[in-house]
């Protein structure tokens, strides 16, 4: 296994920003993988809807509500935020658990004449395409070109990647996370900070971008001038500031700056020192509570940790691995493994680790064969359990 990788600084200096032939070919290939994987997801969603899985008569007509499956679960909540804004009902499921950036985009799409649900699915799809390309660009800074391309291909066909086709914010956060990384390597501090802030406004995991941005700023601090240092500090603080702005907004709109954490409690989530222990207890008691779906999320969590370990062993940047670790493990501190499979999708070093393993042809072939099959099969889960 090849463990060497070019240094990020050298990579940025050596590779021109303009679209080289190699890059254009990679973009075309990744766009093809995006198109193929999304067609597979859409086809599977259509089959599930037409077949009436798991209960006939429950699904609306495909012609009246095409791909309704992609707007279910949290997608409905984001739609409600886009249409009506926030409202907190103490002790009950409330919109305030859902971060605002994706509904803002849905609302913008609605103002352009699209139904909110259609706008959400369309934004998620386009965002995912941008995300694959941006993730490739970021991976190129740390990995050989073939590995970088493979990491984005694996992301496109990852079994849980059907979420990137749903009216969920992951499709928007992915390009923002990757772009923040690319921009910070090019010392475009303010642009990186804005991406980190937007990612945090869409998903709270975005705040972890402060770790790789901070690490990069620290590494280059000595040779930065005063103005660059100022912008670097702003980039590090941008994500926490965006989270603060969400609290400020909730305070202004509802009179409760912590409304988003209170709403999480209705879903059985509350951050505490014993959160991980409670998550493990819940996992042990899952069969007794008829919640065996929790093992799906716990299984993906274990896979993510394994791949982060591979990324660390391949000497990929520790700051990115630490951020990825936070994305996978911090949700457990809220007392549940629920949805951890989805949260880990934004941890890019997971896919870098998979790309490192994919240097072995047998592993590469296995991922290429199993990925699309599992991706299509995963669509069957949507009516049964939220992602």
């Amino acid at each position: 296994m090849e463990l060497t990788s070019p240094s990020p600084i050298a990579a940025v200096r050596l590779r021109p920003v303009r679209l080289s032939r190699e890059r254009a070919r990679a973009y075309r290939e990744l766009a093809a993988w995006w198109l193929g994987s999304r067609l597979l997801v859409l086809a599977a969603a259509a089959v599930v809807q037409v077949a009436g899985w798991p209960r006939a008569g429950w699904h609306p007509s495909l012609f009246r509500h095409p791909f309704v499956l992609l707007t279910w679960w949290d997608g409905r909540w984001y739609g409600i935020v886009a249409k009506r804004g926030y409202l907190l009902v103490q002790g009950r499921f409330s919109q305030t658990a859902f971060f605002p950036f994706f509904p803002v985009l849905e609302r913008a799409g609605h103002l352009l004449g699209l139904p909110v649900d259609v706008a959400g699915v369309l934004i998620a799809h386009l965002g995912f395409l941008a995300g694959l390309l941006a993730a490739y660009e970021l991976a190129r800074a740390y990995l050989p070109e073939a590995d970088a391309r493979r990491s984005s291909i694996y992301l496109a066909i990852f079994p849980f990647g059907f979420v990137f086709s749903m009216a969920y914010p992951e499709g928007v956060v992915l390009p923002l996370v990757a772009l923040a990384g690319v921009l910070v390597l090019r010392e475009r501090w303010l642009a990186a900070g804005i991406c980190a802030a937007a990612a945090t406004l869409a998903r709270p995991e975005g705040i972890l971008l402060a770790v790789p941005i901070g690490a990069c700023a620290l590494r280059r601090w000595g040779r930065l001038d005063q103005w660059s240092r100022t912008r670097a500090v702003a980039a590090v603080l941008a994500a926490p500031a965006a989270l603060g702005s969400f609290s400020a907004y909730l305070w202004w709109a509802l009179g409760d700056p912590l409304a988003w954490t209170k709403a999480e409690q209705a879903w059985g989530r509350s951050f505490s020192a014993t959160g991980v222990y409670r998550a493990l207890v819940a996992l042990a008691e899952a069969p007794a509570h008829h919640n065996t779906w929790l093992y799906r999320d716990a299984g993906f969590c274990a896979l993510y940790l394994l791949l982060l370990g591979v990324a660390l062993r391949a000497r990929l940047p520790r700051s990115w691995v630490a951020a990825g670790l936070g994305m996978v493990l911090l949700p457990l501190a809220s007392g549940s493994f629920t949805s951890d499979a989805r949260f880990g999708l934004l941890a890019l070093p997971v896919f870098w680790g998979l790309a490192v393993l994919g240097r072995r042809p047998r592993v590469h072939r296995a991922v290429l064969c199993a990925g699309p099959a599992l991706l299509a099969a995963a669509m069957l889960m949507i009516p049964l359990r939220f992602p």
């Binding site: 409600i80 935020v81 886009a82 249409k83 009506r84 804004g85 926030y86 409202l87 907190l88 009902v89 103490q90 002790g91 009950r92 605002p100 950036f101 509904p103 803002v104 609302r107 913008a108 303010l190 900070g193 804005i194 802030a197 937007a198 406004l201 005063q226 240092r229 100022t230 912008r231 670097a232 500090v233 702003a234 590090v236 603080l237 941008a238 926490p240 500031a241 965006a242 603060g244 702005s245 969400f246 400020a248 907004y249 202004w252 709109a253 509802l254």
Partner: protein, 186 residues
């Protein structure tokens, strides 16, 4: 001077981050803000949720004495007694457990008149749907009060509450049958 050079990037960076936060706030401000009625509706649900027992006296015009409805929640399901009838309420569903066979709409009306859980669930469905909660200022049995409609379809069911505390006074029902119930929180 040297200390100033060290501190300046941090102060400037914090100021720039604050500008980014302000821009983020402005982006969020493009979302719709809840109306005062919706906010009161949300508060009312919390008031109803906070009380697991509710006593209701149902008053129908042709009856000499009000029927007494007693509501108690047990294991997530509300049980409402109206005379000899027993109605089970869960979420938006009301089911006649015992008593004379009645159309489902009557069962729901009976439940609406005395089941805090069902009232809260209907109010919640309204808040998540396309309708708004619009409070009307009224005088109810000599007291100033707010009345707001809780359901979107069918006959009008309005919850009458105290203006500040939002403590429920009663429920008004106006369809082919006009009735009201007096609520008492337990």
């Amino acid at each position: 001077m040297r200390r100033l050079a060290v501190v300046t990037p941090f102060l400037g960076g914090a100021a720039l981050a604050a500008l980014i936060a302000a821009a983020a706030f402005a982006v969020q401000a493009t979302l719709a803000t809840p109306t005062l009625g919706d906010r009161n509706g949300a508060r009312e649900i919390a008031v109803l949720d906070a009380h697991r027992r509710l006593a209701a006296a149902e008053v129908v015009p042709w009856s000499r004495r009000p029927l007494t409805a007693l509501y108690a929640e047990r294991k997530g399901k509300g049980l409402l007694r109206v005379g000899r009838d027993r109605i089970e309420c869960a979420g938006l569903h009301a089911r006649l457990v015992s008593g004379p066979a009645e159309p489902q709409s009557h069962v729901v009306i009976e439940a609406d008149l005395g089941c805090g859980q069902l009232l809260a669930a209907e109010l919640r469905a309204r808040l998540l749907g396309d309708a708004h909660v619009v409070p009307r200022r009224i005088v109810y049995r000599g007291h100033p009060a707010y009345s707001f409609r809780v359901n979107d379809h069918g006959p009008v069911v309005s919850l009458v509450v105290a203006p500040r505390s939002l403590r429920p006074y009663g429920v008004r029902f106006a369809g082919r049958v006009r009735a009201y119930s007096l609520l008492r929180l337990g």
